[in-house]
Amino acid sequence: METTSKTIRKHSLEKLYASLAENRKMYAPVAEADNRIGYKYNPDFSEVIFDHIQSTLSVKNVVFPRVENVIFYTNNKNDSTVTDVDLNKIPEVVLWGAHPCDTAAYDVLRSIFCWDTKDEFFAKRLEKLVVIGLACHKSDAHCFCTSVGLSPDSTKGSDILLVPLTNGDYKAEILTEKGNRILTDFSGLFEPYQDEETKLTHVEQQFDHKQVTQHLKEAFENPFWVENSLRCIGCGACAYVCPTCACFDIQDEAKGKNGKRYRSWDSCGFGLFTLHTSGHNPREVQSQRWRQRILHKFSYMPERNASLGCVGCGRCSRACPVDMNIAEQLQALQSI
């Protein structure tokens, strides 16, 4: 689809939000305690913020919830039954004001959940999602989108991208059919875009991801991994705040005869992730698990899923209790 650019005035944004909220769930960023940013369902427009740098958690949960029930069952010894989940009950959601790194992450997740066999749970949630992205006019030292082929105004994954203008209004880039439908439905709120000046942040490029990928091919046995992961304590914080980490567990939970099977977030950084029943563990120590995290995102995924497994949001580095700064490490890896 050809991209069209429009202008939406600041005062029209609220009308657009209210109109969309009439028959859809809105998911938008709000300020939380301790100077943190979080996304919330159906907040009042007055709560929604437009000048945040990064939310603590990513928005992957919209398409890949912390817990997704996959089947329900009744266990009756010789007459057990299995019931499907009704995916038609998944509501239409408008993700409002997500930054380009987060929206680009949906493409990465798609490359995991929809390669070869399609995962209907993910696919249906994505299908029911309308993404109104918000380009960044602020960033911090942890942001590195420009190092992974993105930018503060990347359009990847957005249906409409709002780009802040210096005059306080927004340029609206209409990028997909879904976006176009919104433009058509609420055409009165959009004006022609007349080359007004945009207000974007500058994110310094820290490394060349293609070079990193190239270097990683020969880096498996490098002492780098042990040296640089001694301080890693093996928690799942990086994986759980990451917008592209998609490893999951499958578990059963039953009360009496009735129960469900669900999948829930997991992390390759946990020691038991790969533990065999026999007691053998292919990734026995933390350095091997840290190596897996980096190689998976920057070597295996580009080769296997044709997508880089990182969008440069910097959440893992912000969340890490021991300063495992991924951009810093990638920069170092570029020259080993």
Partner: protein, 267 residues
């Protein structure tokens, strides 16, 4: 920290230890744990207000143990953690050298366990002042208010287990939360399972928590989970007059029964 650096240098140079666990300048203005094996690199060791992580967690980490004997930069909470780890036979006193740092950030010479014990005895072992304040506020609440407070906080938990991993006392190779026969705690992150997890963690740390606050600091979603274990530390002190980590021969409060124990807690 000239003394710290020169002492680390001396220990590595004389091969008295194979690694020095301390702090170095990290990225974006943070300080972070450092593992120094080369005496020429001890200059990167720092100690200032940013050096808050409890380094004792590394004493039981496989890859760090591979180095051999370790010297560890230790503030009071780290010293107390070391005492607990020795008491619980996870670390042998002869395998570590303690590079003490006082509350004022001054190097203190810790020649051995007895010296460390004497030093700890001179310190205030209660919870940090700001946490005491919050705990006092929580204790004033009604049961329902307290419950609501914690339900709100624990609903944020994503079960990343950063609280557990950051804690020097959580060294089990297989945590109770990972045992599935029976499955004590649901694997998924939901309010019920999250609550179970944090109660279990608090109970397992009762009498063992040395009030470093590391669990709360590590939490990526800012749950003040350290208040749970600190509250247990308070309770243990009230009922049994014990502070964890004062000697290298601590007996386990929760599994030791004394004739003069108060029993009102079973009410």
């Amino acid at each position: 920290m000239i003394n710290l650096v020169s002492r680390a240098d001396e220990l590595l140079e004389s091969k008295a230890v194979q690694v020095v666990i301390g702090y170095e300048a990290g990225s974006t203005g943070k300080a972070r744990p450092a593992f120094i094996t080369d005496p020429s690199k001890t200059g990167s060791l720092i100690f200032d207000d940013r050096c808050v992580q409890n380094l004792a967690v590394y004493l039981t980490k496989k890859e760090v143990r591979y180095f051999g004997k370790a010297a560890i930069v230790a503030t009071l909470p780290i010293m107390r953690s070391i005492m607990m780890l020795i008491s619980e036979q996870q670390v042998f006193a002869e395998n570590i050298v303690v590079l003490g740092v006082s509350a004022e950030g001054k190097y203190i010479d810790i020649a051995g366990i007895e010296v460390m014990q004497q030093y700890i005895a001179t310190c205030d072992l209660g919870n940090p002042a700001k946490d005491q304040e919050t705990l006092a506020m929580l204790n004033k609440m009604s049961t329902q208010q307290k419950f609501d407070f914690w339900q709100k906080e624990l609903s944020k938990c994503i079960k990343c287990y950063a609280c557990r991993q950051a804690c020097p006392m959580c060294y089990c190779t297989r945590c109770a939360v990972e045992c599935n026969q029976p499955q004590w705690i649901p694997v998924q992150s939901n309010l019920h399972g999250n609550t179970d997890w944090h109660i279990l963690r608090a109970m397992h740390l009762a009498g063992r928590c040395i009030s470093c606050g590391e669990c709360g600091r590590a939490c990526p979603v800012n749950i003040p989970c350290h208040l749970l274990t600190m509250h247990m530390a308070d309770q243990v002190h009230n009922y049994f007059n014990v502070y964890a980590g004062t000697t290298d021969k601590m007996s386990s409060v929760m599994s030791t029964f004394e004739p003069n124990d108060k029993e009102s807690f079973i009410q």
